[in-house]
Chain length 197, copies 2
DNA sequence: GCATTAGTGGAGTGTGCGCTCTAATAATTG
DNA sequence: CAATTATTAGAGCGCACACTCCACTAATGC
């Protein structure tokens, strides 16, 4: 009997579909995207599509899951740092870099548009949590070191930093003259002003 | 022959439908909202619905148009002020107040989810324009008065102020512990820090 | 009163799309 | 080679839902 031919090939195919979906979702929104369009973009038939993902929604969730994993991997990147404020600002900088992928803003809007689906809401919650776990310890450390203001709790500061990066993302999505690379420096400077004691 | 019975009644009915739609859109997203659900919420039949609005999309656009008109009316409110920075911060404050309507964040996400429709994109452009025309003159005045920083152009400062209010709105939508009223003061304070020379 | 038309409801229709089903092919094992 | 199963494509099904249609009522003008 023949079993899984090549797990790597399977995974690669999965990623091709995910990448295609990311593109189309960003362009047309979630409901505006037909599974047929994803198949066309990925160069596959609908049979193949549903062989890899049971539903269109599961595909969206798979994309979100991938994002969460990326955030979790990022933790290791800062493990040996000692300059807490520097790490916080680097994470903010990373947010600006993420916004540079031209598909990102559209995709974020697309996800927002179906946030009322419980599964999507849950995944986004998980994402928020992962991001908070990434940044909060560094905020606390920076506070103890006296590098940043202490009149707000670490949780609120974290929320406000996400407010900045999320707003940044949204602005890039909407505003012609507002580019991720061009405004990155201002983002970091604004975060610095916000954090100042 | 009998002509329009009561224009006011007609307009009122229209507003009832608009209000119902705002509620349902915010809860379920645009595509997740059926015209039947709007009718149920508004207490009307589908015949009545399509008597007032030719399509579901036109209804959404009507809501956006209403918002634009509100922004335009706001201009008069500040006409006789002389403290430019104060006006700018008041406009920011107004943004926080708008976010206090519990339906607002959901509605904004819903609109974002269908931003790929050309008509929606056009209306949002118009909205952005209206808001810029509201705030930009005051930013310029504040710069000339030396009340705020001058290292960024008025356009960029305006964009960044919207980044703050939009991000604020998004945060209220997502974050349990982040309430419009509770964080309003921090929003104004953050705007002040951003604007400081 | 009659004529006319705005306003209203709801049954029904047509379409678009997510997903299923079938059938064929490729890959693997023994 | 045969046997088995993963993989692929695409035709088509069923359903949900935006919108149409028709019948009726209410209001107004004459």
């Amino acid at each position: 009997m023949a079993r899984t031919v090549d797990p790597a090939r399977h995974e690669a195919r999965r990623l091709v579909i995910i990448d295609a979906a990311l593109t189309v979702f960003a362009e047309r929104g979630y409901d505006g995207t037909t599974t047929a369009a994803i198949c066309r973009q990925a160069g596959i038939g609908s049979g193949t599509f549903f062989h890899y993902f049971p539903t269109k929604l599961e595909l969206l969730l798979a994309i979100l899951t991938l994002g969460i994993q990326e955030v979790r991997h990022a933790e290791a990147r800062y493990a040996d740092r000692t300059d807490a404020l520097g790490v916080v600002l680097d994470i903010v900088r990373q947010g600006a870099d993420d916004a540079a992928d031209p598909r990102m803003p559209g995709f974020v809007r697309a996800v927002g548009g179906v946030m009322h689906l419980p599964d999507v809401a849950a995944k986004l919650d998980e994402d928020t949590h992962a991001q908070q776990e990434l940044i909060r310890p560094w905020v606390e450390r920076a506070q103890r070191a006296g590098e940043i203001r202490t009149d707000l709790t670490p949780d609120r500061i974290t929320s406000w930093l996400y407010l900045l990066t999320d707003g940044f993302l949204g602005r890039v999505a909407v505003d012609e003259g507002f580019t991720a690379q061009g405004e990155k420096a201002t983002l970091v400077e604004t975060a610095r002003r916000f954090l100042a004691p």
